[in-house]
Symmetry: C2
């Protein structure tokens, strides 16, 4: 009896619950499954000593306010994308993705074997936060278009929903960029209020139904390996014993990788179904003239950002230098291999 | 005082040490670092309750006998590659890689979201073993050649070191396949005893020094995403409490992904250094005629294997069907993106 009560006391004292706020809604495919996967791993590995209580957007009402909720300590953790906070913390966005930047394995290699983690910490430290990779969407598609894009001239005056950095690049090329809320996109595209919509990729585009109403599905350039993020308040982190810190760190790391693999799978399944159900859906790539113009506009915007801020410059240069090296390897390995099997 | 002794007893009783035998030598780059990474994660997450004691090839003297060592219970765990056991357990080899098969993210998607894990378990269950993905080498290079390969005729009589399935395919095309031990490869290539050597990729080829003596570095076709493996004896697994099982499972899963990312990084670094130190090293891709002949020979060998064994057939068909679907996605995402930036 004494043994039982001592042991219970010990266990009770060592239990930790972290409250996590996520950008996504409840039951959000892939993104929401990633936080559930992380929480489940943490709980199983800790024998129930570490619980993550997840609140979705319907509960906290601040899908794009996760950074503040965690910084202010209203939540211990967050799951969101750093480029949503461009206004408050502009240098955060480079840790999500950059147009014409790294694909997922290159991005993880930069984070874990080059300067990625260190630079990300430099950005978040002043806010009393730690940031970790939180899952990769894989290469995002360029969007659904109702018109073929054969030249830069075809972009002039095109009404397109595309947010963030990609929106700024498109605006440079004369696109009339709008940022409608997700719920209005289908109707806007169907009625011609917009000519094109950029969302994510097959896995997340499929439930939106764009393939039912838009003819051309363009390959992407704007988010070649978008990484979402876990945020943790330093105070919550420091309260955890060493073993639970290790469990949390590795649960986040695994959940991030797992999301990349889940997206790979579900994009394959969804793209297959789209083509089967709507055989008119046509895959397209932007012609070199258009890609080059997008790239020039991207480089111009990055150079402007680097000029304005020393830390931005450090991050942009680090990513550019790393990409230059690792892409040479990607080119002689996966790219050469995929191109060698021309008929697939 | 009572609290202390009760608590110490509890902790002591709950400590577990697993002995792991690995194919690799001590301090083996990437492969050996993967088991160290796994062991470190397991120990940190369990607060020291789970220790993995690693024995390298110099200790157990059976680099290609890991399967038997773990099956017979001489070791609890192993880290090896399933295609080394083609003789004893021929269906295991498909879980490493197959020529013209899946690249790393596609392979992980097959393991974790399609039939991969289930089929692998079907192969290992009769031996009282569990097998888990243990790290991906990324896309392996086709090898170092002292002669250009411009046609299938150029392969006839070519003396080449290339083991396993790739060796069988090459033999079908008239190559004189040899399998020299690693320590003899450099001298054999330098003296012309062999005309070509297939090893792994830049990260592991660099320390071998082939770039100093061979002119052509060909992109690969034979191991597009080779996954090594962790093996565990069922009895050792069943002795672990649930939380340590979860810790071990997730430490292995993370270490496997981590190896893929580490290889990506180190291959980028090594390829860069090779080109800098030896500017004459030339990257080549096999011409379509040669690729098509290799592919036909691969399909012939796979068809023969499928005909002989029902489980082989099930695995080969599962991989083929899955690849057909997921590759469509890879083609419109990473492949299209990498090709759109033609100058890099």
């Amino acid at each position: 009896m004494l043994l039982f009560s001592v042991s219970s006391l010990g266990v009770a004292a060592d239990k930790h619950t972290l409250r996590l706020a996520q950008t996504w809604g409840p039951n959000s495919p892939i993104l929401g499954e990633t936080t559930l996967n992380m929480a489940k791993m943490a709980e199983e590995m800790s024998g129930g000593r570490l619980k993550i209580r997840i609140d979705s957007a319907n509960k906290h009402k601040a899908p794009f306010g996760i950074f503040d909720l965690v910084r202010n300590g209203q939540y211990d953790m967050g799951h969101t994308a750093s480029y949503y906070y461009k206004g408050t913390i502009p240098n955060a966005m480079y840790f999500t993705t950059v147009p014409f930047g790294m694909i997922a394995p290159e991005m993880y290699a930069w984070f874990y074997h080059d300067q990625g983690m260190e630079l990300m910490q430099k950005v978040y430290e002043p806010f009393g936060l730690q940031s970790f990779p939180g899952g990769n969407t894989g290469n995002q598609m360029g969007g659904w278009f109702n018109k073929e894009i054969n030249s830069v001239a075809d972009l002039k005056g095109l009404k397109m929903r595309t947010p963030g950095f990609a929106g700024e690049v498109m605006a440079e090329l004369g696109v009339a960029v709008t940022n409608l809320p997700p719920g209005e996109l289908y109707t806007a595209l169907e009625r011609g209020t917009v000519d094109a919509v950029e969302w994510v990729g097959p896995a997340l585009d499929f439930p939106m139904g764009f393939h039912q109403i838009a003819k051309y599905y363009y390959s992407g350039w704007q988010e070649p390996g978008a990484e979402v993020q876990f945020l943790i308040n330093d105070k919550a982190w420091n309260k955890l014993p060493k073993d639970l810190q290790a469990i949390l760190r590795i649960a986040m790391r695994t959940a991030a990788y797992d999301m990349y693999i889940q997206t790979t799978h579900e994009s394959g399944v969804a793209w297959d179904r789209m083509k089967e159900d709507y055989p008119n859906v046509t895959h397209k790539t932007f012609p070199p003239e258009v890609i080059n113009a997008m790239r020039d506009a991207t480089n111009k915007l990055l150079a402007e950002a680097a000029e304005k801020d020393d830390l931005a410059k450090e991050i942009i240069n680090s990513q550019r230098d790393y990409l230059k090296q690792v892409r040479q390897w990607t080119n002689i390995s996966d790219k050469a291999y995929l191109n060698s099997i021309a008929t697939d």
